[in-house]
Symmetry: C2
Subunit: 113 residues, 2 copies
DNA sequence: CCAATAGTTATCCATAAAGCTAAGTATTGC
DNA sequence: GCAATACTTAGCTTTATGGATAACTATTGG
């Protein structure tokens, strides 16, 4: 288990998973999959106040899942697919460890029938 | 965006993502990838009190990520890989929608060079 | 220039989350 | 049967999260 708690809250994966835990934020990620958008463009689809929505954007940004950039008075947001891949990687790691386990189990049962 | 907020907190995906948001719970999932274990066996690896740890197990169980079963005084836990696949599915859906978008974009740019 | 637009900051509030201790309930080994 | 084992339940505390409002700071478009 090699002391996982060494990362209290920093830790990339941690922030990414935490960001995806909220349905609003997952919806934003989904929406940004269809291309970039400005803050108010994105906010239109959600039944919450702008400042509340902005908080979600900030969480997404500090998690690295989105990147934003302000031009004039408009802030544009876009998805950062690499960060999403991080989740993929974690999943793959679980799968690998699971497979390794069943492999060992198989080897064992095959050795002594 | 078809009103995502119709699901306040029930909603399978929601609970799965929320469950994975905590590092302790992710570590448990990881550990269970190497095969089932009893509550105290699992708890040994973590620096928190047993009741606190049990809460995590309950969250994991109600999310469907693990299944548990009590035999005598011992409760055994095992990973439910299908639920983990749900995350995979979500990721795949994002990728699909992203690809669809870039495809349309490509088609457009190719049509009018 | 000035009004509308697009964010941003600052507070505040309610609830949920993660942790703890203490005490309780079954099971099991001797 | 009785002590140790293996959880469970109950209650409490602290902090984080998700939401709101009000007021503020740029940028435009006309």
């Amino acid at each position: 288990m090699d002391n996982y708690w060494a990362e209290p809250d920093r830790g990339e994966a941690n922030r990414v998973f935490a960001a995806l835990a909220d349905p609003t934020r997952r919806a934003v990620v989904h929406r940004l999959g269809a291309g970039p958008g400005t803050v108010s463009e994105l906010a239109r689809d959600f039944p919450i106040a702008l400042p509340s929505f902005m908080k979600h954007l900030r969480v997404l940004e500090t998690s690295g899942l989105i990147r934003t950039r302000k031009t004039g008075r408009v802030r544009s947001c876009e998805l950062n697919r690499e960060r999403l891949a991080l989740v993929d990687d974690w999943l793959a790691a679980q799968r690998r460890s699971w497979e390794a386990h069943t492999d060992r189990l198989q080897a064992f049962t095959e050795e002594r029938p």
